[in-house]
Symmetry: C2
Subunit: 196 residues, 2 copies
DNA sequence: TCCATCAGGATACGAACGTATCAACCTCAT
DNA sequence: ATGAGGTTGATACGTTCGTATCCTGATGGA
């Protein structure tokens, strides 16, 4: 039951999984609760997926794909119209829960990421493609023509990992949005400031 | 059932929770499984804690406390005998799964961190004390007398968040240990290199 | 028209969950 | 020695879980 292009009904059900996982946790995403949230009967959930595990895998794959598409679209809408710093910032802000969409997505992804430590089928979704974001950030830094003392790849690694961590802190209300913005601005300045 | 100093039996049970959560996930930490892992009967688990939820909260608090103590001890064992870079590196490496102890702890913490998005009792454990690690790293950077263009607090924020993220990548085998070491070395060099 | 296939309703089943209950056992101060 | 309080074994209760089963309509090509 590998779904590449889900039917409308499958999509409804998958989105119900997302909402429940984001608001009440992946544990509460039982077949019966998913059905209620999707506005269908439990039998329908049973019918359209091979089983609960497959449903969860499909839901992760679809979320992952949607996130990538949305990020790519949003960044592409800026390109050729802005400077490298704006692009770089936009790419990194895709990792932050700055609106309901990204907050929901991040909460669901967090639940899945933890479960993928146990479930290899989920882990494979995360490992499927290499490190497109790190590579993109590396390219953006290099394209900005930073000082020669900057190693774009190493900067990208810490930036992506760090902004992800800051996003989680934001989710847990361990940091304020202003705090994250200050830290991000500082490092963008540092990396992109005047060349030698 | 707030346990500050657990009895030997409570500790046995709590450690069973840690092992199960690390190896099979927090969902598998049922009362019956915990009892088996701890080598006691399920009734004993029932008796020594107010309920499952309290047991989970106590287990998190104890893990959190143990981690802080171990980190403090390990770093203190280096102080006055090493240069700032060694101390800074040691502090950050407490976040990485470099041995079984830290790997287990990180896996358990990850499960709890995710669940704390839903469970306020767990979230309060994480939020209880401010940001001691960020503060310590800030102090270590400042004490190293970095270049005046360095903002120690902002560097500490991204370092702590970033190394945490790199540690998770390590856990998921998304990065190699050498890769993480390279990124960490680069940024330590960058921050601590020759003063103006 | 007829029947094969798809879609879904209604219900049940066995397993596992957290917890409650009741009796039995220890261990000391009295 | 004895009874009270702390501890544990054995067992059961009610719930919820994922899934299976059986049946009813709807749809659509022959």
């Amino acid at each position: 039951m590998v779904v590449d292009e889900p039917t409308a009904r499958q999509r409804r059900i998958v989105e119900a999984v997302w909402r429940i996982a984001a608001e009440r946790g992946l544990d509460m995403a039982t077949v019966r609760e998913i059905a209620v949230e999707a506005g269908v009967s439990a039998r329908v959930v049973q019918y359209h997926f091979k089983g609960k595990h497959d449903l969860l895998v499909v839901a992760l794959r679809l979320l992952h794909r949607d996130n990538e598409r949305r990020a790519r679209d949003r960044i592409a809408a800026l390109r050729d119209a802005s400077n490298p710093r704006v692009l770089l910032r936009a790419a990194l802000e895709e990792l932050l829960p700055l609106d309901d969409q990204r907050r929901t997505s991040l909460r669901v992804m967090t639940a899945y990421y933890t479960r993928s430590l146990i479930d290899p089928a989920l882990a494979s979704v995360f490992l499927h493609d290499g490190s497109p974001l790190e590579n993109m950030v590396t390219a953006l830094i290099s394209a900005a023509g930073p000082r020669h003392s900057i190693d774009a790849a190493r900067e990208a690694d810490l930036l992506v990992a760090g902004v992800t961590g800051l996003g989680l802190d934001l989710l847990h209300q361990r940091r304020t949005r202003a705090d994250v913005r200050r830290t991000l601005d500082y490092h963008l300045d540092r990396i992109l400031q005047a060349q030698p």
